[in-house]
Symmetry: C2
Amino acid sequence: MARWAPDAQGRLQIAAMELYGEHGYEATTVAEIAERAGLTERTFFRYFEDKREVLFSGGAALQEYLVAHVDAAPPSASPLEAIVDALCSASDDIFEDRRDGARLRQAVIAANSELQERELIKLAALASALADALRRRGVGDPAASIAAEAGVAIFRIAFDDWVRDTVDPTLAGRIRDSVDELRRVTGERGPVARSRA
Amino acid sequence: MARWAPDAQGRLQIAAMELYGEHGYEATTVAEIAERAGLTERTFFRYFEDKREVLFSGGAALQEYLVAHVDAAPPSASPLEAIVDALCSASDDIFEDRRDGARLRQAVIAANSELQERELIKLAALASALADALRRRGVGDPAASIAAEAGVAIFRIAFDDWVRDTVDPTLAGRIRDSVDELRRVTGERGPVARSRA
C-alpha cells in the first residue's frame, strides 16, 4: 500500500486488486472491496461505477495524459518520437512507482477473457486517439495510424516484460529498447533473422 | 455471389452477410440465414456453431495459412519479411477476390461492439501465433513479438483502407506500401513530421 496514494480511491483500488488476486475477480463483491478498504459501499460508488471499473478507471487519465503530451511535443519531433516520448513520460510519472499494483492488475486481467477483451478495446481506442493527435500535428495517413499502432504495440510488449520482471530496468527504459528493436526489425533485410537466435 | 464459392458454406456466408447488412446482426436469425441460402437450419449448423461464427470461421484458416507460410519462409527472410510475405500471399490467395464480402463483414462488425471485441481478440491471438512461428525460426524476444505485432497492425490498417476503397490497388500492394511507411516512420528522426502534412 505504501507506494500507492493512500486516499479513498487508492485504498479501494488496492483492496480490489488484493481481493481479485485472492478470490478471483468474479467471486469478489463491491461490499468486500469496501470492507477491506475500511470504507462504505457508498464511498466505492462515488469513485467507481462497478467492480470492473476499478481495473480500467486509470485508462481515461492515461489517454488524456498521452494525448496532451503528443499535442505539446516540439514540432521537430517525428511522429514515432512524439508517441514514444509521451509513453516514456507516462511511464515515469504514472507507472514507475506502481509496478506491484500493475502486476496484480495484469494477473487479474489475464485470468478473465471478458477483462482481456475490455483491455484490448481500451488499447485500440488509445491508439486511435494517439493517431488523431498526430493528425492534429499535420501527420498524414497511413503514417499517423502506423506510428500510433506501433507505439501502442511497443508499450504493451514493454509493459508485459516490465510487470513480469521484479528488478530494473525501468518501464521507460524498456520502451526505448523496444523502439530500438522495432527499428532493427524494420531495417533488417535478408539473412539476419538466424543470427538473432 | 459470383465471386464467392457457390457451395453450401459459401452460400450461407453470403446470405448471413446480406441479412446482417439489411436488418442488423442482432435482428437476424439462423432460420432466416438458412432460408435466404435455400438451405435448412440443420445444414447451417453443420458448418457453423452459431450466427457469430459465420463472421469469424475464416479466422482459424487464415491463422493456419499464415503460420504455415512463416514456417516455410526461406532462412534468409528477416522476421518482418517472413510475416509480410505471408500476409501478402494470403491477400492474393484468400482476400483479393472477396473485397465485397470483406466490406460487408467489416461494416457488420463496426456496428456491434461485441463483434469488435471478438475481432480484436482474434487479431491478438493471430499476432501471438505469428510470434511463436518466428520463435521457431530462431528469432529472439522481443524481436519476435515486435515483428508479429507490427505485421498484424499493418495488415489491419491496410485491410481497412482496402475495404473502404472500391478500386485498385490490391490488398497486397497496400500492405507493402504500409510496410514502407512503417520503415519511414521508424527511420525518421527530427523535423520531418511537419513536411508530411
